[in-house]
Amino acid sequence: MSFRLPNAGCLIDRSNPVSFTFNGKPVQGYKGDTLASALMAADQRMLGRSFKYHRPRGLVASGGEEPNALMNMGEGARFEPNQRATTTEVFDGLTARSQNHWPSLNFDIGALNNRLARFFPAGFYYKTFMKPQWAWKHLFEPIIRNSAGLGQVPTERDVDRYEYFYAYTDILIIGGGVAGLEAALESGRSGAKVLLLEQSPHFGGRFMVDDIEVDGRDGPAHIAHLLAEIAKLPNVTLRARTQGAGVFDHGYALGYERLTDHAPAATPRHRLWRIRAKRIITATGALERTLNFAGNDIPGVMLASAVRDYIRLYGVTSGARTVVVTNNDDAYRTALTLYAAGLEVPAIIDARPNGGGEMSDQARALGIRIETGHGVAKVIGKKHVTAVEVCLQSGTGGAVESIACDCVAISGGFSPVVHLWSHCGGKLNWDEENAMFSPDPSRPPTDQNGEGFVLAAGTASGALGTNACISTAVTAAHQAADEVGRSIKEEAAPRLTQTPDETPMAPIWTMPAQAPYKLRSKTWLDFQNDVKVSDVQLAAREGYESVEHTKRYTTLGMATDQGKLSNINGLAVLAGALDAEIPQVGTTTFRPPYTPISLGSIAGEASGPLFKPTRKTAIDGWHKSHGAIFEPVADWRRAYAYIQAGETTQDAITREILATRGAVGLFDASTLGKIIVKGPDAGKFLDLLYTNMMSTLKPGKCRYGLMCNENGFLMDDGVVARLDEDTFLCHTTTGGSDRIHAHMEEWLQTEWWDLEVFTANLTEQFTQIVVAGPNARKVLEALGGTDVSREALPFMGFIDGKLAGIQARIFRISFSGELSYEIAVPASQGLLLWNLLLQAGADFGIAPYGTEALHVMRGEKGFVVVGDESDGTVTPHDLGMSWAVSKKKEDFIGKRGMQRSFLMAAGRKQLVGLRTLSDTEKLPESAHAVEGGKAIGHVTSTYFSPTLGHPIAMALINGGQSRMGEVLDFPVGSKVHKARVVDLVFYDKEGAQQDV
């Protein structure tokens, strides 16, 4: 049984009880407990079921490496699956439920898989379920899907808030154990800006539980001393509950701060730190490895260091009678801790023939039995440990003795946490003496200058002893400080540490060494995913020899702990099976994040209304209050049509068009891109950018222009106005404004850096309003202030002046085919002008129109819309706009592309008009013209024209210009629509309406 000890537990506050539930059952813990320690105190040893065989699972570890104790946490909108009990702080009202079982944790139908385990070795599913073809999708896969997965599916939208935090620091230290704190103190003294992240709520790491003396202080006292010293340095920041989650190129690192997981309802819940650091020190410690013997997955078998953690930190023990099994000296600390807590240690099984060092003498002196050269043949127990069978380590597992116990503390040695070192390409060395991979300081991750930017310190660097741990931290601090341009003036006095002499560990990868199949097939490597020694050996035998193949074939290390416990053991077993050296086999790739981080934190603040905020024009509020329905166009919303009482959308569009063609319409064109291009070379630049000539444009005049990409395909269009000799205003499409601005800058910065040209995107600075229709001039004249007569302001000209006292730039350009003015005013004046125009236009029949009316009217005129008539495969020639492609210019973007044979070939798709044979039948959107079973083109725009009283359409048709008058078939579904190829311009072919 596991239970709370009468005293001990430096992190819990026994005066502060906390109540929560596990599987609906009330449990009490103390403030400071983790969910794991509180459940242990409540004698809840079985905490879940494994992934594949649904075997009982209990705690193995005490930190983020825990593979088993995963919980469905919380309820409703705060429900979260797969939360690790070991890193969850308890609070009043916490609800936790165990996972992956049905109907209950104790009685799980899925455990049948365990009985059939011999039929389900690694990769069995690749070898069966192949026939009949339908059966995988409809029969086998659903069964597998339903039995796989771990936690339950959330059902509600998350109610918590998340945020980003941006930090710039000279030195980022990851890990708040003794190495991290020593490094922070030392580098902090240089004056460098230092940020230290610690994933747990507490600092000190293993110093809090290992009996170590530094400068005459015990471990916890030394940590308190370091924290006090660091507190004096304003340039050093410490953050607890903040995981160093990932290291990326260019000194970019992620921190994952869990602010309120221990106090829900407060917000934000998580904060994602996005850190730019000049140097990063990984002081992430080391993780203990399990030992590989049969039944090592049974609840009650735990890492020796975790057993010690639970006693020292939380005052709980996972058993009253603990057998310690080890291949190294560190586990003796656990035996001594257990003894000191008054708990039974019936035996220490040390696989090394000659046993351990000073601590083993201490243990022996206390009367603890030590069996050297022995191992565990198997663990007895179903839902928890009842005994271990001891055998000779060198043998085949013949039991020499059975020792009753309720806990087995195991230690297979330590592996430095090299994840963050490795995320960005840091390389590893194999340390033969300690049988572990450690960072190779000569091959660090490199930054943009080719210099190493990550340093490892403490046990994370492979320095397992206390002295080395501290000295590597100090060295790393000095190097980092130097490299960020700070120097540490005063050398700190070296720490004097007092640690027992240790005997080297012995690599033990299977226990016993000659374990037969029967034992190996019960020896777990990956506890969550149910990967056993026999599985890895099978993979090797079948040729999945690369460590990545073995991983993917067996799923070793693919569980939510990402192999923190299993990887090294697994690849050692693989190396054994291949008769290769471990470093030859290598590791799988370490990927961010170190431990899983919430998707919510990655999204940060950008959710709901802040997810891609809607861009609105200055007149948006008016649109909304006047019946507008909107459509998203790029990030903007634009008024699609203004619906009046009793109208359908189509009614409104028809009314708006007729009003504009018959009287005058008003349109909010503010979303069009407006980019200023300025400088002595501006004309030259625009000649290169546009297909037509812009440098010859006279100040005060406008010209419609096309832009192509290098391949000669149309990418944007718009009207360019020359404001003065050096200054052009380029209008772009709504969707194009940011893209075209970036396009300009890319060319200016990378290819034509010698041109003296500057660009500025002024899209949002101006409101632009179109007044179009036969009465347009009258409306402007009613406002007064500027002469807008044909003589003073001819078609394709512009003028700066005042309208009703507002400073305005008035363009004579038309996208509707009517007499049309586009008036640009500062955005702050936009709504005022809009209202003044409405008032002035009231007598002239003014009506606002939306984007659909705009589209229909331009369709009637045969004007193209980039993105409708063009799709990235269309040249200006295809659109019948050869007039806009200069033949004189030596070069422009797309010129060479357009001259390639296929783009010059006859029979390309060409833009034409379409007139349906029936006056009532509009062509469907995107209908394809079909000839002889092959598509020969498609409809690009299709409308009903209220002006003309019949449907119109535009289409790109193979050799379209030579097909004038032909009737084409457009089959859609079971119906064949017929339409005649006609000229593009349906309305006012001569342009008489717009140039008046």
């Binding site: 979260e80 959330p154 690369s546 990927r591 919430s598 997810f611």
Partner: protein, 415 residues
């Protein structure tokens, strides 16, 4: 090759699984082969398999720098679909999809092709028109797709938020016979079947040079010695430019890192593949229970197969808006794969300026779904020496001619 079957598993279960053979041989490279394929990813292995199976050429070596299937074959988000706009694309992707349907049985290796349906969301009017266009094109091409209403989308994916508010779902293009497969198994299955037909798969061997004489390829130099060959296939997505340089020509390709991530596993919650191109993200759930999420490509060229963070955040934001319940799930792992990007985002399959040297590259973000079709087409091309019907439109010369096969209108960012 001893057949895999339920019976074989039962037989092995009673003898400690001691009778399983190697899935593929691990031979010493010979001095000379009729055909050398560089790159033992899905495409390279499929090419070797179809050369052996369809064309009777068995004197083949597939040379792999690392471990087979370790490039983009083992890094993608496993989506299979063929709902392409351009006829040439639809033809080869549909060929691939059709082969995928019968591939488990053909290879005697369960590649877990699961036609769970692929849904491409239309979230703007413009996108909706684009999907209508593809749907119309598909009808003529003989690729079965249909348009779904928002309500139909919701009934297929109950966890989806279809009412926006930012980008409401206006409809979707649906290919019922698209789906997913187990990516590693595709490589392993082809490797096992090809090896059985006599193909030598040489792993952990890097090609360091390509030798030629009189404009004709004569062999490759490798870290395990020189190997001569009559025909050479370069099938090394992500490193195509490097190999092309060895062969003495240049490719119109940029190499960028494409980002992907998975969540921790949960019980089944989404049974189809959803692609949302307006917001740049796509998502499906693996049989293991992880949500497999694909994002965008980095905006700069590089060869490191690492994940960068910036695209991940955009993708995750978009997917949380689309699937609000995933916010409290956790990201388990992120990674990157190097994809070849051509000017028209379509592949290059066929002959090269070097005689006897063929190339298959440039699949961009769409390589996995095309593996069987691509292998089929390159094998036919290499066997005859002239472009196969499926491959012909994708020749390298099209860039000089401007004969692009551009899917950008249809594909957006995600393939």
């Amino acid at each position: 090759m001893r057949k895999y079957s339920a019976f074989a598993i039962a037989r092995e279960a009673f003898r400690h699984h001691s009778g399983w053979q190697r899935a593929w041989r691990s031979p010493e490279p010979k001095k000379s082969y009729q055909v050398v394929i560089v790159g033992a990813g899905g495409h390279g292995l499929a090419t070797a398999y179809y050369l052996a199976k369809n064309h009777g050429i068995r004197d083949i070596a597939v040379i792999e720098k690392g471990w087979l299937g370790g490039g983009n074959t083992g890094r993608n988000t496993t989506i299979i679909r063929s709902n392409y706009l351009q006829d040439e694309s639809a033809a080869i992707y549909e060929k691939a999809r059709g082969l995928y349907e019968g591939l488990s049985a053909e290879l005697n290796y369960n590649i877990m092709f699961s036609p769970r349906g692929v849904m491409m969301l239309a979230q703007t009017e413009h996108e909706l028109r684009g999907y209508h266009r593809i749907n119309q094109a598909n009808a003529i091409q003989g690729v079965a797709t249909e348009m779904l209403t928002p309500e139909q989308v919701k009934s297929k994916v109950p966890i989806m938020e279809i009412n926006g508010p930012r980008y409401p779902v206006l409809g979707a293009l649906w290919q019922a016979r698209g789906g997913t497969a187990r990516h590693d198994a595709v490589a392993w299955g082809y490797a096992r079947a090809a090896s059985d037909l006599g193909v030598d798969i040489i792993q952990q061997t890097e090609v360091t040079g390509i030798t030629q004489s009189g404009g004709q390829v004569t062999g490759v130099q490798t870290t395990r010695g020189d190997i001569s060959c009559k025909k050479l296939g370069i099938v090394v997505a992500g490193h195509s430019g490097v190999l092309a340089e060895m062969a003495g020509f240049r490719l119109p390709i940029e190499s960028v890192s494409l980002q992907a991530l998975v969540s921790e596993p949960i019980k089944p919650c989404i049974d189809v593949v959803v692609m949302a191109n307006t917001v740049h993200g796509y998502l499906s759930q693996s049989d293991k229970g992880e949500l497999v999420i694909g994002g965008g490509a980095d905006g700069y060229n590089n060869y490191t197969q690492r994940g960068s963070f910036h695209h991940v955040e955009e993708t995750v934001r978009a997917l949380i808006e689309t699937f609000p319940i995933i916010s409290r799930l956790k990201q388990l792992r992120q990674w990157g794969g190097i994809v070849d990007m051509t000017g028209d985002r379509s592949p290059i399959i066929g002959k090269t300026p070097l005689g006897g040297c063929f190339i298959n590259c440039g699949w961009g973000t769409g390589g996995f779904k095309s593996i069987p079709g691509s292998g089929w087409a390159l094998a036919a091309t290499m066997a005859s020496g002239e472009p196969d019907e499926l491959a012909a439109p994708f020749g390298l010369e099209r860039f000089a001619e401007g004969r692009f096969i551009d899917e950008s209108v249809a594909a957006g960012v995600a393939h």
